[in-house]
Symmetry: C2
Subunit: 337 residues, 2 copies
């Protein structure tokens, strides 16, 4: 093995308020050795950064909480160095929760083999968690119909950029509206990614702005943020509207919120709305079709893949802090090697 | 015509806080005459009382708001006295929004012909809005599966009594838990209607009580109340749980709430919940099957129909005020004639 050491980034303290790089620390240890049957030793290549990383620190979600003192959890594209599973061989590329470290031992059954492709980064963006989350949330959960008005929040983020473009590719005559946090992002969504209209939630009251850009109301809302923006959307939804509940990034980086949006459940009843929570892994049987569709749209130029690649494992904490502050456009990840 | 006058109950003032009988007044006017083509003159027999009546005073919902000075709105079983529609004849029985009055002129297309049956009151309870609301909300929206745990709030009310009994009749091996507002109601739900367990929300904290009676969590929640009880249920739902959003009676009789339940949308995402709002009329194509199923269960003794009949049009205001205070068991209605 070339490297003698394994760099690891630990969560040293569970943040009570905003996450900062001071909540992490890097240590060095030896590269782990593989003893258990059914396990893999992998070398981390690209670590995925996601708002959900912050949510994991708040407590158990669809996975155990990340506790202080542990290597920070995170999905990554990694290469198998040594395998004690007949399903994997050295050299295979996998997606697995390696955590923020150079090397990891992971159970083979928790690793997903991914195809070799260039650029490999697409395995985290359009063909990875971001692309499949956007695809399943929009098409399988919110089921938009031709001509409908589709709203997405965190529209300039990894999932949002794809939701808007998938909508344009898959839903005839739809109107796509994105909510983002700066005029520059908004302009970029319209000029580069084909969004029909945008709202800068930091510059204008969202409810009024939605009324102006979608006077006909909203049929589908892909919610990445929760909080006040979800509330504004609820009040602007049309009857029989559908909300794909993907995340609540407005509520991750601080104390848990003391209340939910007004209009729940009153508006859900009177407008006969459907709110559905999901995560990407809920749709194993749809995965193949989704990847084929995404490849087709990329090939046709209907999806422009947006990636934001930070170099160096040591920069992972600041990269996550920056993501939570809305620095990135498209899929943020860290190149480890 | 036997009566020379038409008694009407007007909403004289839109309540700001709790509804009282002082918000209504009875007047007498002449029986309306029928002039418009496509209209019906009907004689009101039984007026349905529903928590939603109060919600209509708060503003537009799935129907226009009831404004002060208007005859109070309300659905009723009524008899056609005179018809200017080829679809109806004198003597037909209909369900229509007659409002709280002896006679009404209603558009034929807004009237629904109902079969003659005895007792006619069943046309408002098990075979009317209450029965169909319970049926569609539980079976079409929340889609319970064998062995699941099903929770219903306002369990002793018109819809709740039926939700619990329909669950027992239609869902093999399910566990049915009801939330109601007194120990007497709770005992009655268990002894008479076959509920497995109950929670008296006025006597115990709901979250803890739910943990005790449903340690395995909740799969389906039929929500009639919203507010704190919805919040407690959200925190006790199992992954992939379904919530049928039928009403929010906790929030009707006062100022609109300043916030929604905590956990929205965070718990919806992490538990992959589905919340669906509905009203009974959303399922016209399922109506026939629903009525047939309900008739079968009544015939087999699996559904005991619970009705609470108040006599006299003049008592309608106090009957509604009492319903909002939780006086009734089962379907409350007013016998006019």
């Amino acid at each position: 093995m070339a490297e003698a050491t394994n760099r690891q980034i630990l969560l040293v303290e569970t943040p009570k308020g905003k996450l900062g790089s001071e909540h992490f620390k890097m240590t060095e240890t030896t590269v782990p050795t593989l003893s258990d049957e059914g396990a893999l030793l992998v070398r981390t290549h690209y670590i995925s950064l996601d708002a959900a990383n912050r949510a994991w620190m708040q407590g158990a979600t669809y996975r155990d909480a990340v506790e202080s003192g542990q290597v920070m959890a995170g999905g990554a594209i990694a290469e198998v160095i040594e395998s004690k599973s007949s399903d994997f061989a050295a050299g295979d590329l996998v997606f697995a929760d390696t955590g923020w470290q150079d090397y990891a031992v992971v159970p083979a059954k928790a690793a997903q083999k991914v195809p070799s492709m260039e650029p490999k980064t697409h395995l985290l963006s359009v063909y990875g968690v971001a692309g499949l989350t956007a695809y399943f949330g929009l098409l399988n959960c919110a089921t938009p119909k031709a001509g409908e008005t589709i709203l997405v929040s965190a529209a300039a983020g990894s999932v949002g950029t794809l939701v808007g473009q998938i909508a344009k590719a898959a839903v005839p005559d739809c109107t796509v509206i994105g909510i983002a946090g700066s005029d520059e992002k908004c302009q970029w969504l319209k000029d580069e990614l084909g969004f029909d209209a945008t709202v800068n939630y930091k510059a204008e009251p969202v409810f009024k702005a939605l009324k102006a850009v979608a006077p006909q109301g909203i049929d589908v809302y892909f919610d990445n943020v929760g909080g006040d923006i979800l509330e504004a959307a609820l009040f602007r939804m049309n009857n029989f509207g559908r909300i794909a509940c993907c995340g609540a990034v407005s509520q991750y980086d601080g104390a848990p919120p003391s209340a939910g949006p007004r209009g729940v459940p009153g508006l859900i009843v009177t407008k006969r709305l459907n709110l559905r929570g999901f995560i990407m892994s809920d749709f194993p049987n749809e995965r193949e079709k989704a990847l084929k569709d995404l490849e087709g749209w990329v090939a046709e130029g209907k999806i422009k893949v947006q990636e934001d690649i930070i170099d160096g494992l040591e920069n992972t904490p600041t990269a996550l802090v920056g993501l939570l502050a809305g620095e990135n456009r498209g899929k943020r990840m860290v190149k480890v090697v």
